[in-house]
């Protein structure tokens, strides 16, 4: 049953990806990439990674879709039809794809109890969390207690990213709009 569900989801994922490639209207492409994210979230749920699925659904399907829609509202609504078949990009794609598939041969099987991720610090956190932190969600315990420094770094990254986007696109704080207007007037004059 789980295998059938996984295969069905992967097929739907590939189908969505193909549709995205062949679609010309960017509005449809953006909505389909939202669908792609939701299918990924379902796959994570099947793999019992509820926290990751949650994030994928909220960020991938929610915020990214809105930001992409905002972007195509500012740029173009359909893909240009220029298409020059060329051997070089195809070769690069096949080479990189081949290397990636070759890399997966060394990976442990999904759910393998002897995989490094299950034998390194993982069991330690799982054993210590009920005693030291006493919360059911070990992911939160690792994120907020054992790895609080890492999370601090992540929040700082989010902060910096937000600040950067704001400074680049809004052009300064408060006086931005008026300054842009005056620049445009200068340009025309």
């Amino acid at each position: 049953m789980e295998l059938a569900l996984t295969l069905l989801l992967y097929l739907a994922l590939v189908g969505t990806a193909l549709a995205i490639i062949f679609m010309r209207r960017l509005f449809a492409v953006v909505i389909l990439s939202g669908v792609f994210s939701l299918l990924c979230a379902l796959l994570y749920i099947v793999m019992d990674a509820a926290d990751v699925a949650f994030t994928e659904a909220a960020v991938g399907a929610g915020i990214s879709t809105i930001l992409m829609l905002g972007t195509i509202a500012l740029t173009a609504r359909s893909e240009s039809l220029k298409f020059n078949p060329s051997a070089v990009p195809l070769g690069v794609v096949l080479l990189v794809g081949g290397v990636l598939i070759y890399g997966t041969w060394d990976m442990p099987n999904f759910g393998d109890p002897t995989a490094p991720v299950h034998t390194h610090v993982g069991p330690d956190y799982i054993a210590r969390t009920p005693v030291e932190v006493d919360i059911p969600n070990v992911v939160t315990a690792v994120l907020a207690t054992y790895r609080a420094f890492d999370t601090l770094g992540e929040v700082a990254v989010v902060f910096t990213a937000g600040l950067g986007v704001w400074l680049l696109l809004v052009n300064g704080f408060g006086s931005g709009a008026s300054r842009r207007d005056s620049e445009q007037k200068d340009g025309k004059g």
Partner: protein
């Protein structure tokens, strides 16, 4: 979007539950899936949905630019100051056991505090990015899409 009656009605119904769900994910993150990152995004989605359907002008009347930029910094400050407080109380940076309750209670207090910081910053950054993208001039009719 004045002529989209269904969109406006459904949005009115949805915004409240989305915000409530965001708060639930924020404060229930230790017990269920989720935490500050997801909660911040979900909370922002509630506002962004409102802004998309009921025009950006009305959203900015509720949540102005300066307020969002303040929150961006406030969240990170809450996180950083939690670490400073544990240092003042005699522990290492972000060593919650210095907070002085029972060992488990201190851990919970520390986790709630930094998750609040994470949630506020992520919410505000999502809103800031949305404002930055959508505030720019072109406004399209339905047919243009």
């Amino acid at each position: 979007m004045d002529h989209h009656l269904i969109l406006r009605s459904v949005t009115r119904l949805l915004v409240g539950p989305i915000l409530l769900f965001g708060l639930y994910v924020q404060f229930h993150g230790e017990y269920g899936p989720g935490g500050g990152f997801q909660a911040g995004v979900i909370f922002a989605v509630g506002f962004i949905l409102y802004g998309t359907v009921f025009t950006l002008r009305r959203l900015k009347a509720i949540v102005p630019d300066w307020f969002i930029m303040g929150l961006v910094a406030l969240g990170l400050l809450i996180y950083l100051l939690t670490g400073v407080v544990t240092m003042i109380l005699g522990g290492n940076y972000l060593d919650y056991n210095a907070l002085g309750l029972s060992p488990i209670g201190s851990q919970h207090l520390g986790i709630i505090s930094i998750e609040l910081g994470v949630g506020i910053t992520v919410f505000a950054v999502m809103m800031a990015v949305y404002y930055a993208f959508v505030s720019r001039p072109p406004r399209l009719d339905d047919k243009d899409w």
